[in-house]
């Protein structure tokens, strides 16, 4: 056991392995207990250092570098194929826009055309027009007929091209043919009289009473 007055100095000296002051050296020479304790302390620190050195100075395994190189090569390969997130978003938006435009076109083509100018009878050339200001039925008729000329084009353009296999196309053709034949059969079965039964507009007789107009008397005028 170290003497109390030298304990701190001897402990620090054992720890740092520094040269002891002359006074402490003289004490060690005269005190067997301190000499033994100091020796134990030095042995303890030596052992600790040896243990820590043994732990940390181990040889690196030969497999480490090849493993790291392999992983780095794999990383580099993965990086080549990696697509950044914004690219995913952009492509998703593009696909969405295409799908949306496709859906809108399909809807437009499925809308039935309005009663067109074909159903409106043109006025006779000698009939006076109601208005010449551009608001009259003639202008409307021209505008409608212009629009009606475009309609088939719209319908044609809006017809979607669907990728269908050859087998499915044959099936579809058969199906449409059967539908057409069914429609033709139904049209043939309808009685023509039923179609022609149109009643004319009848106007009931109006009882108009004769108006009696009395002549103005003098002094009644305003």
């Amino acid at each position: 056991m170290l003497c109390e007055s030298y304990r701190e100095t001897l402990n620090e000296a054992a720890l740092s392995d520094e040269q002891l002051p002359a006074e402490v050296q003289a004490h060690l020479a005269s005190c067997a207990s301190c000499r033994e304790s100091f020796s134990d302390e030095k042995a303890l620190f030596g052992l600790l250092e040896a243990e820590v050195r043994m732990r940390i100075n181990a040889e690196m395994p030969a497999s480490l570098l090849p493993r790291v190189r392999h992983e780095i090569a794999a990383l580099a390969a993965a990086r080549t194929w990696r697509v950044p997130v914004p690219a995913y978003i952009a492509s998703g938006l593009a696909v969405g826009a295409i799908a949306l435009s496709f859906a809108v076109r399909t809807k437009v083509s499925s809308v039935k055309p309005e009663p067109s100018a074909h159903n409106i009878s043109l006025p006779a050339p000698n009939e006076p027009s109601v208005s010449q200001t551009g608001e009259g039925p003639l202008e409307m008729l021209v505008a409608t007929s212009k629009r009606s000329h475009k309609q088939p084009q719209v319908a044609l353009r809006a017809e979607p091209k669907v990728l269908v296999s050859a087998e499915e196309q044959v099936g579809l053709q058969r199906y449409t043919a059967s539908l057409r034949s069914m429609a033709a059969e139904r049209a043939a079965n309808v009685e023509p009289e039923a179609l022609l039964e149109i009643k004319h507009l009848e106007i009931a007789g109006v009882d108009l009473k004769g108006l009696s107009i009395d002549p103005l008397q003098s002094g009644d005028s305003d």
Binding site: S16, P61, R67, I72, L75
Partner: protein, 168 residues
Amino acid sequence: MCREWETLLGENAPLAFRVARGVLRNDADAEDVAQETLLRAYQRFERLRDRTRFRSWLVRISFRLALDRLRAVKRRQQREAQWVFENARTESGGATGSEFQYHLQRALDELPEKQRLVLLLAAMDGHTLEEVSVLLGVPLGTVKSRLFFAKRELAEKLRCFVNPIEKR
């Protein structure tokens, strides 16, 4: 980057491994940690402005990852305790008892991280205290004081296990 990286990898892979080995005291775990350290260093290499700080940077990554691994290992306390005793017998080569090894490991684990890192780096072959100071970017006096307190802490905890061993 490739050539520079390859040079740095060859020079510093042992450092990454040894730091991890000092914390984990197990070759297999240390190798895994060293591999992860080097991969992380590779991935972030472009961000390192001062390439002369590469070693210091690597030491910190390795030390941090090794501590994380150690904490994960500690969760499996039962397995860990058994492994320590078995491993200590094989590592010590009969020079010291397994009990001492076990308590040394516990004492090392309980050291503050800064002191532990200085202790490990100072014990590494070829590292002077000046080099440790440069490596960690702290003054030499700080390195010395951390080393002193680390050793004193270890000695306090292990003194009672040394004398019985020597008497055997």
